[in-house]
Symmetry: C2
């Protein structure tokens, strides 16, 4: 992509309204634009990252054996009246009437819709286990939206639902999903810590939140420091679910300082951004809506269900909270909007123009994504823009280097700049990055 | 994918409520499920097709030089009050108040949002031309939703917007988009006919609808029969926009029988399903919202805009209308939910099971997508299911054939069944289909 033809409205000033670094950087990098309170438009750079995260989440869900569905954003209130949540759910649910004065709502979460699908189509124990997921926009009318897309009103979410014959099967589905989550976050370049969350009136031990550790997190976590080491390894290896379950790891409301079994020296207290939540809720919705199956011995039983969320739009911000410096964003390779920033330091100089065009063509042929800064502007401006938007590698092409047959390569994460021969630069970059 | 683990609730009976063949087949093939009037859940088989169409549309838009954005489904009414459309748009627009009693609406179309982005970020002729698109759910509260997803209330749409300095530039953007549309429909296995549509009060000749010819279409079209030949070729060759523009091709409201230059013998009259619409509307919204740029000589001028829609969810139905037979759907290869149906005719027979498993593994290794019918059910049921859901190729493995070292391959479109040696079957299929 040529920057001269791209749509990248970066800001030099720091936006006043943004309280957290991810919000500031997303505005400054031209990734998002507020449409109205808590509602954002995703501009091209932000849209690419959103779609890349979506693709990784989808791929891991598919590999876990779940099937994608697409549920509507607007639904009739009837199902929610049946489940009892139409009255119980607060003002965060957007309610309205359609032109025929029927009560409708904007889906804030899809337990009712999914349970309705289960009761229509799942009839027998032979139809189970089953897992369905969707990646869809949700709306919750937060009274005080804040932190940009971190706590917006309209947000993009993956929500999965598992259907099992009994609790034993449901536990297997739960841990299969836990493994898929750990792999997903690892592929996103994140270490997410699972902590036990309040399972609510249903009780039991099967409710975990996944948190990215960040000082701006809204949640307070208490956990055995061994958990971080386990999590850092888990994405690459067989996920040790038993070891994770054995360790103390609690969301604030679940933490009991009086009875905490971890000595103070081993207890880590940290703030976290919740990016995922997995939850086994048994037969709550299947009983309310009559989603039953016939067991192998002919008994009619309600389906055991779990639900599993990942905040896709929030993850964009969480990744930035976890990976940035003074100069801007530092994207993990897997979600970077482009892999390489190609910087022409003297547009109009025929050696620079030709070399850049040649590098650009060859990288694209190799399947590498490139943002080529071909604008008529100074080197300082170009370096600052590319540092701000955080592409993993910069290739800088200037007349002085070209006379010596070299270009500079900067690794955005380490900050290391290497002068390197033109030939090695291409070989090195394509070997590292080619798809 | 093993069918025993998949979620494919096919129906044997023909649903009473469905008036058109695509609606009937989408329900019978377990692709969609009505959630409430005009609002559908997309089940796994339908979701794959929807995502495949989305990916092809996105890829062609990107190649045309447009940039993807993601705009919110919910917006403030303010922009629509500014443009004057808040009152002008009828009851199809879903309006409501948020918890702070602010007027909000569910985006039925995004001219206002896009023009707002243009006025915020496009300042100079140097920022143009520019094209932005999104693929997002829209809602129009149809008074009488019908024909399944063909005329639903919530629908999935690609809408693009072009921004140019003047009419000349806008015409170039318009024809660039026309070329992208023709290529897109060709990749989807469709011949779409562009006809002139009523440009409304703005006038001019730059408004075309793209139609799939089908007897169930809601529009009546009149065009020179030469257009069909040109369109059938256009996807594969340089698109002859001039030749297309020279031919008579009108949507009903634009057709004037008194002054039609085409002799009756060459005039084709046909019904069409509208799947795309491209439209140059000049400065209508940029003037209303003050989206101006500075021209090269310092003059402040309103931006010239066009908008370009493709109905993604409607296309799923339109493809079925254009490609089916008595037995079910016949998917074009590019959008088929799986490329191959692998049918085990005797589950439990060790030769059949092993051969099927072997074929399954090798096809998947080659990057081919396979739906493997491993259910304990009769051959007739299996053939009928696969004919219904319309995968392009069936591989049928039975004990009798295996004794002779053969399997059967059926081409869904031609209906031809070949008996072929096991080795050639794999070679032939992977050569044809490997990604």
């Amino acid at each position: 992509m040529r920057l001269s033809q791209y749509f990248l409205p970066t800001l030099k000033e720091t936006p006043q309204e943004a309280q957290v670094v991810s919000h500031r950087l997303m505005l400054r990098a031209g990734m998002i634009s507020q449409s109205t309170s808590g509602i954002y438009s995703w501009l091209p750079l932000g849209s690419i990252v959103l779609r890349k995260i979506e693709a990784i989440v989808r791929n891991e869900l598919n590999q876990s054996g779940a099937h994608e569905v697409v549920l509507p954003t607007i639904q009739s209130a009837d199902l929610w009246k049946e489940s009892g949540r139409y009255d119980a759910y607060g003002a965060e649910m957007l309610r309205f009437q359609d032109r025929h004065d029927r009560d409708m709502l904007y889906t804030p979460t899809a337990e009712e819709l999914m349970t309705d699908i289960a009761r229509r189509y799942l009839r027998s124990y032979r139809d189970l286990p089953q897992s369905l997921y969707q990646i869809q926009w949700k709306f919750r009318d937060e009274i005080r939206p804040r932190f940009g897309v971190m706590r917006g009103r309209e947000f993009y979410m993956k929500d999965a639902y598992s259907f099992d014959v009994n609790e034993k099967g449901a536990r297997e589905s739960y841990f299969r999903m836990m493994r898929a989550y750990i792999k997903t976050f690892d592929r996103l370049g994140l270490t997410a810590v699972p902590v036990r969350a309040d399972p609510g009136p249903i009780g039991g031990d099967l409710s975990h939140e996944f948190h990215i550790i960040a000082s701006t997190g809204e949640s307070l976590l208490y956990y055995d420091r061994k958990l971080e080491d386990i999590m850092a390894e888990s994405g690459h290896t067989e996920v040790p679910v038993d070891a994770i379950m054995d360790l103390y790891a609690m969301e604030e409301e679940m933490h009991d300082p009086e009875n905490c079994p971890v000595p103070a020296s081993d207890l880590r207290q940290a703030r976290g951004i919740e990016v995922g939540h997995i939850f086994y809720f048994g037969t709550k919705y299947s009983e309310a809506l009559g989603a039953n199956i016939t067991d192998f011995d002919g008994k009619i039983l309600p389906i055991h269900m779990g639900s599993y969320g990942i905040g896709i739009s929030r993850l964009v911000a969480a990744i930035i909270e976890a990976s940035h410096d003074e100069a801007g964003i530092i994207w993990p390779e897997s979600v970077a909007p482009f892999q390489i920033a190609l910087i022409n330091l003297k547009v109009g100089d025929s050696a620079c123009d030709e070399t850049c065009q040649n590098i650009y063509d060859r990288l694209i042929e190799s399947g590498v994504t490139v943002l080529y800064d071909d604008r008529q502007t100074g080197a300082g401006d170009k370096f600052a823009t590319m540092d701000l938007i955080g592409l993993p590698w910069q290739v800088r092409v200037g007349p002085k280097g070209l006379k010596a047959g070299t270009v500079e390569i900067k690794c955005r994460r380490s900050g290391v700049v290497q002068e390197i021969s033109l030939g090695s630069a291409l070989t090195q970059l394509t070997a590292t990055l080619a798809a």
